[in-house]
Assembly symmetry: D2
Homo-oligomer: 402 residues x 4
């Protein structure tokens, strides 16, 4: 059997030689679909497809801990997970655990194959991402047990290709705030479902604003228990953020490699840029941040894979990885000069991901404030046995900004 | 006569209510030309057209010092100078001083009117912006005194609409490095001139790569003395950088205003974002940087307008303004969250200008290193009478990255 | 009459050639008193004594605006104001305006001469500096109108040499919180007054903890109106902070000069440190911060001298000056290496003042938060006429951390 | 046998309950000696004495990897290693490997016991720490093979109590620069040896300037081979720096604990400081840096213990640990306010170590520049087999700033 280092090398090689050179095509409306299909076929052929997913529903894929060890390399391109079939991991896990069996059987095989797609819709226009209790999309249950959903969502990835959208909606009015929401699966062909527009996010698309105008779904489309929506959302968070942190470290590493190559190659009279201390500083500081972020992300990944409390560790990994990517991408651009601002250099793509990273998965400020409060509690109880509790509920509440 | 404060208010009002709301249209190929024409007509009608330019060739416009006092407000939009007719200031000054009289009479009236356009081409692909001596575009003089120009330039703004390009080319081979270059005016209709491509700079166009393949121009198209090219380039620099710094301060101020508005308006339960200390911090730090950059830029502008040595002051203004814009735009985006990443928020435009600002007009690292060396000389001579000299030549050499 | 530039040069020369070389002696218990006396005599002889104070009570000294123009140079040494007789400015102004005539006549001539000293005691152990309403020192009025004071104060400068301490004490219990405190003058010879200890503040003394154990003073020792204590405290703040900011800029400038000298002189093989880009960066960044802080401090000083609203400007000046000093002193030490850590280099003194500066006069975080709230109000009202009001009361409340 | 976690807890407990409370006494000339002796006796009794040293010469102590796992906790106080008998580790290792047998037998038992002391003298006044080739202390060999040493050293720790000083001196004139120096053992009782002065380093003593005026030592006092001095110096470096990084992490952790305690305890009306976002930010950022620095330091320690190439990793650990300590100590002081500046708070001690850390063991700028150059070589060769070499010699040359 292939050892993990060999698998990692093959994966990285695939990303570096197949995915990264195709990034322009993958972001070009006219060529995207064909390019993606071709690369997916190649990934399947190479045995690199959907590594963390069950090979077939019910059978186990790569153990989570092993997959997390590959996530940095897979994520060297923002397109890696999608081309390699692991982008659906969070949805697959949610459905495999919580969906009605019939629904599960209908959707899971296609999800694993890459033939079907699902979107996840939580964030709403006009509601602060840090305030899940403010969500306004509502679902009312009819006498037949079915649900009627009304509201708006945005920043929903991949909705244009999805067969189904998982929607977090308010279903209860009398419960404690954290118990008021449920997850419902909405087919995109349903009456009243509408894609309002594709958002232009730092110049690229792929995220959508959606409208639900009295969309009806049957009772079996409730995912998990009534009122358990924020709990389900919370379950995705630790893994989702950790994956994203690892991928950002991958892209930060890629930016440092570009930076190093530029310094070596750019001549200035008899010297190269590599001889200039201000350029050396860019390399050292970026590498230092990348290494620190990698170690913190691996530490968080270890806890997440083991199912241990990891909230602070995940926050730290998330913040450190987003910053490392910002620093590394910015430094690479600075070393390339004006050329680094051009699309042809490939660097603006990294800048874009970097800028979004400080907001996605919870804005930095949210992690700082909630992470610090948790740290302060841990320091307060250090020495006695209570220490770190299982406070999934609080995670849930913090988690809505995924 | 209108006092300067009234003029400033009218100008700012025009930019805020006419230009800024039209930014999307001005960057949309289909609507840009029509929108620009309409706004220019409005500016002319309002008496805000081409304030620093001579009303007609030979007659004086607003004194430079007065215009510099308006540049921050004019520059609150990147499109301000172009819509208001002052974008051609550097070219008009160069031609008015150095061009052959016939050439001058042919081009200047149209430049001032906005009917004609000129581009300025210095930077070359493959040559570090900090190394003017490495420029490779060449011009050879024929027996009739005419010139034949061969080479490539890029990051040339507005070349697609220009009637003429001012090219810095190597004309001498035996002179001291700093005396080897001259400026030549190349009509864009000349044989051998070609626009290779429009560059995609952080997602927007408007800058071009140009090819000169044995383009012939008459002797009268030499601008200024033979071998004086870097000197002419240097003359543009102090004013060009100061103008840009003032405009960046204008956009930074605009970003802080957006930030403040968001904090006030965004509700979080019973509070607003304005009640959160981490948001208060964003405002305070951005405002602090903007105010510091404004004072430094005004100080530089005073020296430039008075024709006094200003190299260090201009470097400091440039660096401080680019950073203030980076901080303010970044903070506004952070306060808007994911919405701030969308084109509809208008903020990515400010982020883009901010990122470019740290490279344009000389990368930050160049200013740090050359600025420090000059400072160290000044500190070394403080106390004796030599102090700061007139070292236009060195400015010239530093200056080529405009 | 001497022009201001000549006066400024003479003042700076005195500080650089007389005060700075004597700093070790001024901080050495055994030699401090004699050195201070000698330098004060020299300052008087040079006509540089007590410039902002009335030459004699009633007669005017240098106008405040003129003195503020000299404060940076006077403050190049922490000992400048004390040696040059202007350290008592805030106390003199408070007493001249608010003290009972007999008390004023008794103390003012000696204060101006430097023969008498007064301390100002506000901060208390166990009470956050940002929370003036938490102050616990109390004064109760007896039937004869006299006051009996009980409580503790600390961080009281110069108390060991003072004839009198101005104490902020709670005198009211029924009033609004801001009207509960009054200022009382306590002779240090009074029964029940005790210096508990000299504090060791980053290794130096000069600040004291005081105990007031039922100290009795007559009714005439009330300074200003009953309940007006926080108002009086607030009056000192804008000027006090502005002065301190200007002095920190002076010390930051001194640190940059040391840094520049070191880079020039330190040889590394054929080069000097000045040839290293990482050292050039230290100079550029420190100079940039110093210039920005100077312009902001001068702006604040202009408003303070004119009696105009200045709270935000003073906060920005304070924060910027403290940071500029931190950066400049840290950079000078870094360039000196291990030698810069030794007392003989003189640099630890600047580091010490720098570290304290980020806490004194209101911790940075306090200025950030309260400055931002005020800025947000100003942005909210920009456009209508209310804008910035005269909110001395709020200043008062913010001000207690002086 | 005691497991490592139990040993670690006992060690930490000893440092926290015995050493840290005695820091004032250990830095007070009058009480230092007695306190140190008492604590050492307690450490011996607790079985915590000299953990990494051979129990007796020839016998093995704790394996290096195990000891490195304890170094953070031991180093929570700057006095930990000295009180616990591990401060002599680098000297013991050098002598055990390179000293003449007779010399070794004479000195080692006392060194391990703590009855004898040795100092290590490399740095010289007037010579940049980054330039070992500039060292000027000379040793000439006489006809009997003995050496006569002349020169000056400074920043020599513990010289006042030492029986012997290990001196790096120039012994060769014809060799390649890196082969010109040797290490010689100089008894402090030798004629011509003189302690010039104790340096005041940020207010504390313990480091000395030494003079060698034709000091004669026998041939057997040469440590290691002639001309191998920089090589021996280099051998100490990786371990020395890693140990120091681990200890700084320990002190940074201690500062974060102080910070957390302050935020919890300090009341502000109905809240505590812990409720303020600007204070939460201090905790989060400090903790983030401490965790990153810990992981980087442990990574470096692993390589050092395994004898693998570690130069970049050690540089990164050193820089990260010094910064983490700076941030954490500074934040703790900021949260304590003026009280944090007083000796009684114990925090100035951490500030002092933090400031020195950015210079000791190679100034940050040296690590940035040399670390980046090595990184750039590694990136250049990534993909072929050369990768990272054994370049001890370069380490040696970089290493002289220990």
């Amino acid at each position: 059997m292939e050892d993990s280092e060999s698998l990692r090398r093959r994966l990285r090689d695939f990303v570096d030689t197949r995915v990264i050179p195709a990034e322009d095509a993958l972001e070009d409306g006219a060529r995207a679909e064909e390019t993606r299909s071709r690369l997916r076929a190649a990934a399947k052929e190479a045995g690199l497809w959907a590594l963390p997913l069950p090979a077939e529903p019910g059978a186990a894929g790569l153990p989570l801990a092993d997959y997390l060890g590959l996530a940095e390399d897979e994520g060297r391109s923002d397109h890696g997970p999608e081309v390699l079939g692991s982008a659906s991991l969070l949805n697959v896990r949610m459905l495999a655990t919580h969906a009605d069996p019939a629904l599960r059987e209908w959707i899971l095989p296609g999800l694993v194959d890459g033939e079907r797609h699902i979107a996840y819709a939580m964030t709403e226009p006009g509601v602060a991402g840090s305030d899940p209790h403010g969500l306004r999309t509502e679902a009312r249950q009819g006498v037949d047990g079915g649900w009627t959903i009304t509201g708006r969502k945005w920043f929903t990835s991949a909705a244009a290709h999805a067969e189904m959208v998982l929607v977090v909606a308010r279903t209860e009015t009398e419960s404690a705030p954290r118990d008021c929401f449920s997850v419902l699966a909405v087919p995109t062909g349903a009456t009243g479902f509408r894609i309002v527009r594709e958002l232009d996010v730092l110049g690229v698309g792929g995220q959508y604003e959606l409208e639900f105008d009295r969309v009806a779904v049957p009772a079996t489309h409730l995912i998990g228990p009534r009122g358990g929506g924020l709990r389900l959302a919370g379950e995705r968070l630790a893994l989702g953020r950790t994956l994203r942190a690892l991928r950002w470290v991958g892209q930060a590493q890629r930016a440092v490699e570009r930076l190093a190559a530029r310094l070596r190659e750019r001549r200035l009279g008899a010297d190269t840029l590599a001889d200039r201390q201000l350029m050396q500083r860019l390399v050292f500081e970026a590498e230092l941040q990348v290494r620190g972020a990698r170690l913190l992300s691996e530490q968080a990944a270890g806890l997440v894979a083991a199912g241990q409390p990891s909230t602070v560790e995940v926050s730290m990994a998330k913040v450190a990885a987003a910053r490392a990517l910002s620093t590394a991408a910015d430094s690479a651009v600075q070393a390339y000069g004006a050329e680094g601002l051009t699309a042809a250099s490939g660097l603006p793509r990294l800048l874009r991901t970097a800028r979004a990273a400080r907001i996605l998965d919870g804005a930095e400020e949210l992690h700082i404030s909630s992470g610090a409060r948790r740290l302060l509690r841990e320091y307060a109880t250090a020495g006695n046995q209570t220490g770190r509790g299982n406070d999934l509920l609080e995670d849930t509440i913090r988690g809505s900004e995924e």
